[in-house]
Structure formats: C-alpha cells, structure tokens
Amino acid sequence: MWAQLSTHLQYWFIAILLLLGLYGILNKQNLMKKLMAMNIMQVAVIIFFLTLGQKAGGTPPVLIKGVEGAEAYVNPLPHALMLTAVVVSLSTTGVALALLVRIYRHYGDLEEPDVLRRLGK
C-alpha cells in the first residue's frame, strides 16, 4: 500500500484539491470564497493534466542540441492544453470579479443569504 501511495501521491494531492474546491463552493456562504474555491478546483484539474505528461527523467520540451529522441522530453501536449485552460480560468475569474464588484456596489455585502433575501426569495 505504501508503494502504491508513493507512486500515486500526486493523484491523491489532486483529488484532495478537487474536493477542497467543491467543498468550498458548496459550503461557504461568502460569494468571494466561492470564487476562490472554484479557482482551486480548476487548478486541480490543470495539475492533473500536467502529471499525465510527465516522464521519469524528462526535461522540459524545448529542443536541446545533442538530446535526441522523444523519451528524453516531457510530453508537450498537456502543457499546451493547460495554457488554454489557465487562460480560460483567468477569463472566468475576471468576469466573476466584475460581477462581484457590481453586486457589492448594489447590495452592500457579499454574503449569499443576505443577497438572496434581498433578491426576494
């Protein structure tokens, strides 16, 4: 069991981050905390993709003279995909922050029960 833990440690880490993010979105009352938890969840998925491309002893995927063969380089495709995912995360956070600023200016606070009560539920 310890041998499996040592090789799969990164996946446990990712799972904990993912569940922490989900817990934050579901349980926290403050809208800003929900946004931060959402960010943690996205980071967990990004790290998941990156660990898929790692190889033991691999070097970053930039061509070095004298080092040939694909086994020496880390798989660059997940890195390229995750660049896109990071930018998506940035845009989502940007839109969410702009929405939060408007909510704060109009309602005066960011606690979800108060905002929902004033919304008329």
């Binding site: 660049l83 990071v86 930018v87 940007g94 702009a98 600023v101």
Partner: protein, 142 residues
C-alpha cells in the same frame, strides 16, 4: 482610486522598474519558441506595467491606457489573430495554415513567422483584457 497610492519611495522605485518590465515582456513574447513564455505571459506583463503606473500615480498618470483604449486594444489584438486566420484562407491554405503565407521560401521559417504574428495578436488582446478587467473593478458604477 482618487488619491495616488504611493509614497516617495514608490514614486522613485517604480520609475526604475517599468522599462525593465516592458523589455522583459517583449523578450518573453519573442522567445516563446525557445523558453517558457509566449503571448499570454507577455500580455500579462505589459498590463502589469500599466497597472503599476496607474496604482502609484492615480488617475492623472502621465502614461497609460484609457478605458476605451483598453477595450479597443482587446478587440484589435483578437482581430489580428482572426485576421491572420482569414489571411491564410485568402492565400489559398486552410484556416490558420501558416505555410500558405508568402513570407519566404523556407516553410519552417514561414510557420515561425506566422506563429509570431499570432502571438503578437494574443499579447495585445490579453493586455487589453486585463486592463478592461482592472478598469471594471475600479471604475464608476454605471
């Protein structure tokens, strides 16, 4: 945001930092092929320099980008990206097929130049977007 944020130390220090940030941003943009970096990171660095000036000097900063300017930059940058895509169609290849651009005989070089053009578009777009987000957060209520 009305009073300037900085003290005299900040005022002196940031003048030293801004040229280096800008130069590093251009380096990151152009060396996206050979080292970690590329369009997104360079755009963020450009935006950071503008935001730093705005934070230290407040609204009457001598150098910066206005609100409308930020939106126009964002549109312009993405339009360069899409425009190169359409340009490759006009020159006969598929969409975003840089090999079709008439920039020289060596195909690898032509593709590298096409990618650089795209990255410049992305840099300008990301700079515009981050500045728009910044202005949305500090701006007036409308």
């Amino acid at each position: 945001m009305k009073p300037p944020f900085g003290s005299i130390i900040l005022d002196a220090a940031f003048r030293l930092m801004i040229p280096f940030i800008l130069l590093f941003a251009v380096y990151v943009l152009v060396h996206g092929h050979y080292s970690p970096g590329g369009g997104f990171q360079a755009g963020v660095l450009f935006a950071v320099s503008v935001i730093l000036v705005r934070l230290v000097h407040g609204r009457d900063a001598a150098w910066g980008v206005s609100r409308k300017g930020a939106v126009i930059l964002a549109c312009l940058g993405t339009f360069i990206f899409g425009g190169i895509g359409l340009l490759t169609v006009i020159f006969g290849g598929n969409v975003l097929d840089y090999g079709a651009l008439p920039l020289g005989p060596h195909e690898a070089e032509v593709r590298a130049m096409g990618t650089l053009g795209i990255e410049i578009g992305v840099t300008i777009a990301v700079m515009g977007v981050i500045l728009t987000i910044f202005y949305a957060m500090i701006g007036k209520e409308d």
